[in-house]
């Protein structure tokens, strides 16, 4: 943890976004995580993403469960409404919050314990429901706050700090999400902010649930030799499959890339995601092919990273419900209450 709070001096080089806010305006309280924690890099990427998207801070709702990862909403966008809920229950709380007000931007931050063990069911069902949210898993294969137990994402053979090897097969949130209809699936590495920021931006703009699994090493309990979630291991085995550029609406789209290697996907609000194919023949809009490719690469010990799957035609929760455009929390009572005449008429059916 850092003990010295950064001075609130505005550096002249800090660029203001369309709202006149600098990146400092999207920061939060000082992190209390361990120095070098991957989560702090993810926090920094989230700050950048919201700043670059010109999102008004108070229109962001940031929610989390319990764990090291779930502490991080305190460390970004202090002007946003936050909700640090209960272990594994963030997906349900976001679902209800999004049901009540479809206009806010929702970000849920979770970890591998929060999402793949205690909250696996909730995560899976939020994906099925396709809640309009950015769902970030800060994945380090270990329980930090309770000091070093394996999590459900620990690979078979990966060693704990005490030297014991994990024997249970891991749950891979990417493969799970693809198999249950997720419409936006990405994996990134906390050590690669350049790749992570555009993925987060695209995820925020995605209409539906955008799952971003970020490998975020735990420097205290899972960064040793023999761990498959360490900085060294992740750097060595990550396999960039597809790199994403996020081009906001109205920005000119450069077309310097050689044809055939760039694929563009237009999002609901007119923004564009440009996907640079690193692996030949990879198609991030073909669920079956993506699944087969990723399955094969994971079996070979690679860690495929990038915006791995995107489907902008999926049915988001409110679209499925045919909800009115106005946030439900703002519909006037007069429109909600049928009144005495209707009650009188209705009761004829109970005679």
């Amino acid at each position: 943890m850092s003990y010295i709070k950064k001075p609130a001096v505005r550096h002249p080089s800090l660029q203001a976004n369309a709202l006149g806010l600098t990146v400092r305006d999207y920061e939060g309280a000082m992190s209390t995580l361990c120095a070098g924690c991957g989560h702090d890099s993810v926090t920094a990427a989230i700050v950048r993403a919201f700043h670059e998207l010109d999102t008004p801070p108070h229109l962001i709702a940031k929610l989390s469960g319990i764990g090291c990862s779930s502490k991080t909403p305190t460390y970004f966008v202090s002007g946003a409404h936050g909700f640090n809920s209960a272990h594994g229950r963030m997906p349900a709380i976001v679902s209800g919050a999004a049901a009540a007000n479809r206009e806010l931007t929702y970000i849920g931050v979770s970890g591998d314990g929060d999402s793949l063990s205690i909250g696996l069911g909730q995560m899976a069902h939020a994906i099925r429901r396709n809640v309009n949210m950015l769902y970030v898993i800060e994945n380090n294969g270990v329980y930090g706050l309770t000091k070093g137990q394996f999590s459900a994402s620990a690979d078979v053979g990966s060693k704990s700090k005490k030297g014991e090897a994990n024997t249970q097969s891991p749950i891979d949130p990417i493969m799970l999400a693809l198999s249950i209809g997720a419409t936006f699936v990405a994996r990134s590495f906390s050590g690669d902010k350049a790749a992570l920021v555009p993925i987060l931006k695209a995820g925020i703009r995605h209409k539906g649930l955008a799952l971003v699994d970020v490998l975020s090493p735990c420097v205290t309990f899972n960064d040793h030799e023999g761990s498959t979630k360490s900085y060294t291991h992740t750097r060595k085995h990550q396999l960039p499959v597809i790199e994403a550029d996020f081009v906001p609406r109205r920005s000119p789209i450069e077309t310097s890339q050689a044809p055939g290697t760039v694929q563009t996907v237009t999002m609901h609000d007119g923004s564009v995601v440009r996907l640079h194919k690193v692996a030949a023949d990879y198609d991030p809009t073909d669920r079956e092919k993506a699944w087969s490719f990723l399955h094969a690469r994971a079996a070979a010990g690679d860690i495929p990273v990038g915006l791995l799957y995107i489907d902008e035609k999926g049915t988001e929760m409110h679209a499925g419900n045919k909800t009115v455009a106005q946030p439900l929390s703002q519909v006037p009572f007069e429109q909600l209450c049928p009144g005495s005449a209707a009650l009188e008429a209705l009761q004829q059916h109970y005679r």
Binding site: F83, K322, L328, R351
Partner: protein
């Protein structure tokens, strides 16, 4: 036998899934439309098809419509339960049965009258399809009962038209079956029986409705926009009805757009999480469940309590622990709801006694929850929730404006130098909340972890206790805004009776029976927790108090002991917890010996 008009009961024994439910409710509804006080109790198994099921109908001109203990007439339509059904009929009673096959000789009794009608045979002759032959047997016995009990055939005719007006083929078959059953009885038996019906004018300003439907209607009228749930007997009807009402009243006719969102969750943990999220974000939101769901929700109920988020949880109680008896009724969740979740928690509970109160309490629950910024439970039970009750027509005041409690507007936030979530507090112990997205100044961090009165994380003892003490004050303040107890005093009263929820009718009937025995008591039905001063005062003013409830461990009695100043020695338990609705007889049988013993002791001294 002496003629008894509008004062008898009969029981229909059927097999589950044969379509008897619609015939039984038709009979009940026809009696209701004849203007006679009536009650139907559906005693059904946890099963889709095949297991035995009973429907009890009690007709009582004085308005006693609690479950009764004796049935003058048994409609025995299930051969599997013939033996016990016939045994249950009191001497002088009647058994109506399907005489297509002869009864086993050993079942015959000479102190009851057997009325055999060859329902199956008649159906086989009149109808060709197998399914029709099964279904029409039910409507045929309804016709026979119409003749035996002197039901108004014109009313039945109108009801059939309402039900099948748009399906002429079905209308034809039902009509045919009714007439066949009716004519057979007229031809073979002396109709009507000495127990019979006669038109009254006691239900003109009433409706026949189940508590689950009424609860849903209350939520609709309260302005609920988000509901989340997981299917569970006996509460499923609440969300079924709410969904139907929303489709009718909250869907734009032209665009099909909905001003509601109903989420069927993956489990009760998620269901309560969803309404917490929705309420945090400014929607009125509720979930509906039963005991097992409450067990699962416990963790997040604590979150809503501590983070002060106004949610409404409807618990339609069934028999537990564990799976228990899911299709039977009980009042066994009182304690678990009063203190739901780990750590120091205490909740507001509303306790309706019938579907009318379900409607009004459901509507009121959201005002209370939002004023106090806390979870509010509505505790009903399977008997109230799933059975049809005759209740006064529901009224709505169009000038009603929901009380959303202390929620700061954008303008109010703009004018504030700085906003803190948990202070300053008002006279109820409540601090103003803000809704996400309304104003930049309103942003704060909601957390289930330790926080101080400013809403900041804390692990400092004094700061933690300061907030918890305010929550205690808030809970105490709830006494002043929850529905008061119903208290009825008798000038010659020597004892008090306290009861709760669906026991209401049986206890009132019991007290009338006690009065006939010269035993006079005061009556109190508590309608909410925490208990108000009215409850304290009633308890103080009696030296002997019977507490009538439907659970093994006398949970209401325990709660009164814990949460009022009453001395434990005054309270005597009257409990029934087998799973069927309470009968007056069960109360009288326990209370009378107690009181007689008291009298004997006094005389001895």
């Amino acid at each position: 036998m002496k003629t008894r008009i509008n004062e008898f009961a009969f029981k229909l024994a059927n097999a589950n899934g044969t379509g008897s439910a619609s015939a039984n409710s038709l009979i009940m509804q026809a009696i209701f439309r004849m203007g006679i006080p009536v009650a139907g109790k559906n005693l059904f198994p946890s099963n889709i098809q095949g297991l035995p099921t009973w429907y009890e109908i009690r007709v009582n001109k004085q308005g006693h419509t609690a479950r009764t203990a004796t049935f003058d007439l048994m409609v025995a339509m299930n051969a599997e339960t013939y033996a016990r059904d016939i045994k249950e009929v009191p001497p002088g009673g009647w058994v109506l049965y399907d005489s297509s096959w002869p009864l086993t000789l050993s079942m015959l009794r000479d102190d009851v009258t057997f009325l055999g009608v060859p329902f199956a045979k008649m159906c086989a002759e009149a109808f060709t399809q197998a399914r029709e032959r099964t279904l029409m047997k039910n409507i045929m016995y309804a016709g026979t009962l119409a003749a035996l009990l002197d039901m108004d055939m014109q009313i039945i005719d109108v009801m059939l038209k309402e039900k099948f007006g748009k399906k002429p083929a079905l209308m034809e078959s039902n009509k045919k079956a009714i007439v066949l059953g009716y004519d057979y009885a007229k031809k073979h038996f002396e109709c009507p029986l000495p127990i019979r019906l006669e038109k009254m004018n006691a239900t003109a300003d009433s409706i026949l409705i189940d508590g689950n439907t009424a609860t849903a209607l209350g939520c609709l009228y309260a302005g609920v926009t988000v509901a989340a749930w997981y299917p569970i007997t006996p509460s499923t009807g609440v969300l079924d009805a709410f969904t139907a009402f929303c489709a009718k009243y909250r869907t734009d006719k032209k665009t099909g757009e909905r001003s509601y969102c109903i989420l069927q969750a993956e489990d009760e943990l998620a269901a309560v999480g969803m309404i917490i999220g929705a309420a945090w974000n400014g929607a009125r939101a509720f979930t509906s469940t039963s005991g097992p769901g409450i067990s699962l929700m416990n963790e997040l109920i604590g979150l809503a309590y501590y983070a002060e988020i106004p949610i409404v949880i409807v618990d339609v109680q069934r028999v537990g622990p564990s799976t228990g008896m899911p299709t039977r009724t009980q009042q066994g969740d009182l304690m678990t709801c009063a203190y739901a979740s780990h750590g120091d928690t205490k909740h507001v509970i509303l306790l309706p006694a019938n579907p009318a109160e379900c409607f009004y309490f459901a509507q009121n629950a959201f005002d209370i929850a939002e004023r106090l910024q806390t979870p509010v439970f509505i505790l009903t039970d399977l008997d109230i929730g799933m059975n049809d009750w005759v209740v006064p027509r529901l009224k709505w005041d169009d000038s009603f404006k929901p009380n959303r409690g202390r929620v700061l507007t954008a303008a109010e936030l703009e004018a504030l130098p700085k906003y803190y979530r948990y202070s300053p507090e008002d006279e109820l112990g409540v601090a103003a909340r803000t809704l996400p997205g309304v104003h930049a100044k309103g942003a704060f961090f909601t957390r289930g972890s330790g926080h101080n009165k400013l809403g900041c994380y804390t692990e400092i003892p004094d700061e933690y206790q300061e907030v918890m003490d305010r929550l205690t004050r808030k809970h105490a303040a709830a006494k002043t805004i929850v529905p008061p107890a119903i208290i009825e005093r008798h000038e010659a009263a020597t004892f008090g009776v306290v009861t709760i929820g669906g026991c209401d009718l049986a206890v009132r009937e019991a007290m009338e029976q006690l009065r006939h025995l010269g035993l006079f008591g005061d009556f109190m039905r508590v309608r909410a927790f925490p208990f108000g001063e009215d409850v304290e005062e009633f308890l103080q003013s009696h030296s002997t108090i019977f507490v009538v409830e439907q659970n093994r461990d006398a949970q209401l009695k325990s709660l009164l002991t814990l949460e009022t100043r009453v001395s434990k020695e005054k309270l005597r338990s009257v409990i029934a917890y087998g799973g069927f609705p309470l009968q007056a007889k069960q109360v009288v049988d326990i209370v009378v010996p107690h009181l007689r013993q008291d009298v004997a002791q006094e005389a001895g001294q």
